[in-house]
């Protein structure tokens, strides 16, 4: 096995980007970097179940939604501290992932994808019909909550720091999973699940762990998002397009590698920002993303990282 150097360059890059708005004290840049970091979290955690294990969790955003709701309920209604709320969200989403996983991880391929879409839609309409969860109108945080964090200005910075820490954490977990026995087992499942079972891999347990890990980070990001934006609505929290974004970033960056989703997220955020603010392309941003996705799937199915890896065998250890 080649030695893995990926963290030596990946983490410094991410930290440099994360520090930029702190040093320059620029709010607008901070907003953009916040989004970029959240994409890294989403994509890297999606990578664990989809890239390493080969299960396309199309409704993965359900864990983000669950995390948002758990978080905002704790912070707003029970006045639990933000940090504790983030951890609770991870716990709840993790347990739910284990339970759901027990059932749906038996399914394979496209059927698994459809089942996860079904779960997301079911949870969405359930939440939208429970009055104590705010119903379809959602929950708006009481503004005075921010006072206990030193006012809204401070609270926005706290949310930002939290997202930075979460990003680093996600990358580390993604790296250690990839380079562990667990990761090898997952890759074996991806290549051929039946063979993996035959050679003695406890596929069921491995898949459950992968699903658990890929669920807790979006949930934590959900709480941070809810805390920052001050409201949460079922339609936004369980928006299937956000799942697709996670998948898109992975395919774009390079599925199944540690650096792929991170690089993909950084480029994706820049691209999206450009498309949304460019006056001529603004109205066409959906179509442009569609064409990009189409071209990538047809011509570069292994993404940016895959493209480099195929051409320069030496850099393999640096990228994975």
């Amino acid at each position: 096995m080649t030695k893995k150097y990926v963290l030596f360059w990946l983490l410094p890059i991410v930290l440099l980007i994360a520090l930029y708005p702190i040093v320059t004290d620029n709010f607008l840049v901070r907003e953009n970097i916040f989004l970029m970091l959240s994409y890294i979290v989403f994509a890297s955690s999606m990578n664990i179940i989809m890239g390493y294990t080969g299960y396309v969790s199309f409704g993965h955003i359900v864990f983000y939604g669950i995390g948002s709701y758990v978080g905002i309920l704790l912070i707003n209604n029970l006045h639990v501290h933000f940090v504790i709320a983030v951890l609770c969200a991870a716990l709840v989403a993790g347990v739910i992932a284990l339970l759901i996983g027990e059932a749906v991880l038996r399914l394979r391929g496209a059927i698994f994808a459809i089942a996860t879409i079904g779960i997301n839609e079911a949870v969405k309409s359930l939440v939208a019909n429970v009055d104590s969860l705010g119903g379809a109108v959602g929950i708006f945080m009481d503004f005075s909550v921010y006072d206990s964090y030193g006012g809204p200005d401070k609270a926005l910075w706290i949310a930002y720091y939290a997202m930075v820490i979460l990003t680093v954490l996600t990358i580390l977990v993604s790296y250690f999973v990839r380079n562990s026995k667990l990761g090898l087992g997952l890759l074996a499942i991806r290549e051929d699940e039946d063979t993996a079972l035959v050679v003695g891999i406890n596929t069921k347990r491995f898949k459950s762990i992968a699903y658990f890990l890929s669920a807790i980070f979006p949930a934590m990001a959900g709480t941070i998002f809810a805390f920052k934006s001050g409201n949460i609505v079922p339609d936004d929290a369980f928006h299937i397009v956000k799942s697709v974004e996670m998948i898109f970033i992975n395919v774009f960056g390079g599925l199944g590698t540690v650096s792929g989703p991170v690089l993909g997220a950084i480029i994706y955020e820049k691209l999206k920002d450009y498309l949304l603010t460019n006056p001529t392309l603004k109205d066409l941003h959906l179509a442009v993303s569609g064409v990009t996705l189409l071209l990538i799937v047809i011509f570069a199915p292994s993404g940016i990282v895959g493209w480099f890896r195929e051409r320069f065998k030496v850099v393999r250890g640096v990228l994975e």
Binding site: E31, G135, A136, V137, P152, G230
Partner: protein
């Protein structure tokens, strides 16, 4: 040659810097729904704002005492696509990038509620038009000021209308869009109906964007209420009215939010007939200097007739202006008066002026709550309209309250 170029460059730069630092206009930022489901209402609201822009800038702008001169108003606005996600991003942009001095809300309570969070986080004053929800105002915001009569007093008149039309009426069905606004309005209407001794036989929400009301209509028909009230915004309300007519729902009163007060409601033809709606303002209201004097409050701004004339000059379709447009102009006037009173662009001073404001304009009385529901509208009153046939043409006429009516209220059953 090069020297001349350098000189030009230096001059240009100096000029550019000079320009960007001198305050030469008041920047008012907002988003509008050029696209999406809220387009019809938002467009009207925007026309009202354009009328204000013209009104104030032909006077040379707003006089700001601390600067000793008049500053013209400059609009900066974006398309929010009727989407909440875009709104927060765009309001942050308006505040941070475009350096907006004051904000005006997007259309609808939902979008306003999300925009309010950003405005509040950056301590910018935002005038909320197109949003009647009460629940925005118990979140502890201190910079959001509402122009509409709030939800709690929005649809209560429909119950009174039902009682007047059919004193023996006993059952009401409420079907509403699951949005802040419609939910708040309908909860208040339900409580009011119960307090009047009516039974609320159905109280159910439908998802925003619903186009098929068959299930609700089947339910309504089996419960046989005397009135159907609710709705949400234009697109869904229009569809609901159409399907109620198609499936022959025989009740005395059909009163829907927003949709019937938008002129385009007439597109559904016969299905529009005898539908009633609460309205913030209609051409036909009697707000003028005399009415202001009677209440012992100051009168401010142009007359109802002037607004109608200006509206028709912009709109060109010949239709009467609705309340969405009226509220657009009203928001501008309120902001203008507050700045003039404060004599500065400082947010705290303008905020203090808004707190003290109690004034009548062509739009009616405007006064803000300063208690627990800080910023909520407490001065303005609702009127009710009904679509009726006048000389063979569909027209909306004021039918309630009795002292303001242009025509008599007619039962929806007359349709069948």
């Amino acid at each position: 040659m090069r020297r001349i170029l350098t000189l030009f460059l230096v001059l240009f730069l100096a000029f550019a810097i000079g320009v960007s630092y001198a305050k030469d206009s008041i920047i008012v930022g907002f988003t509008m729904s050029k696209t999406g489901k809220l387009n019809a209402e938002s467009d009207e609201q925007f026309k009202g704002l354009k009328i204000w822009e013209k009104y104030v800038n032909t006077q040379g702008g707003i006089y700001v005492k601390s600067l000793g001169k008049k500053l013209p108003v400059k609009f900066v606005y974006y398309d929010d696509e009727s989407s909440k996600e875009r709104v927060q991003q765009l309001y942050a942009r308006l505040i941070l990038n475009d350096k907006a001095d004051f904000l005006i809300s997007p259309y609808s309570s939902e979008l306003t509620a999300t925009a309010a969070i950003v405005a509040e986080q950056h301590k910018k004053i935002m005038l909320a038009i197109g949003s009647a929800s009460d629940s925005i105002f118990n979140k502890g915001y201190r910079h959001i000021f509402q122009l509409y009569t709030p939800a709690s007093r929005y649809l209560t008149g429909a119950i009174d209308m039902l009682k007047a039309l059919n004193p023996r009426a006993s059952k009401v069905a409420i079907v509403y869009e699951q949005t802040n606004f419609a939910t708040d309005v309908c909860k208040a209407a339900r409580d009011y109906a119960l307090s009047k001794g009516l039974k609320v036989v159905l109280f159910e929400g439908y998802a925003p964007g619903t186009t098929d009301f068959t299930s609700f209509i089947n339910k309504i028909k089996s419960l046989q209420p005397d009135a159907v009230i609710g709705g949400g915004h234009f697109a869904d309300g229009q569809t609901l009215a159409k399907q109620l007519y198609e499936q022959r729902v025989k009740v005395d009163v059909v009163s829907l939010l927003v949709a019937p007060s938008v002129p385009e409601f007439a597109q559904i033809g016969k299905a529009a007939l005898y539908v009633t709606a609460p309205s913030q303002w209609e051409n036909g209201v009697k707000y003028n200097e005399k009415a202001a004097k009677k209440l012992n409050i100051p009168w401010y701004g142009p007359s109802v007739a002037w607004f109608v004339k200006e509206y028709k000059a912009i709109d060109r379709s010949g239709k009467e202006p609705g309340y969405h447009a009226a509220a657009g102009l009203a928001a501008g006037l309120v902001l203008q008066r507050a700045i003039e009173t404060a004599g500065t662009l400082d947010a705290n001073a303008v905020k203090a002026a808004l707190e003290k404001m109690d004034v009548m304009t062509f739009y009616g009385r405007v006064k803000f709550d300063t208690g627990r529901f800080y910023g909520r509208q407490i001065g303005h009153e609702m009127v009710y309209l009904q679509w009726q046939l006048k000389g063979g043409k569909l027209e909306k006429l004021l039918v309630w309250p009795p002292e303001a009516k242009e025509a008599n209220l007619i039962s929806y059953k007359k349709n069948f």
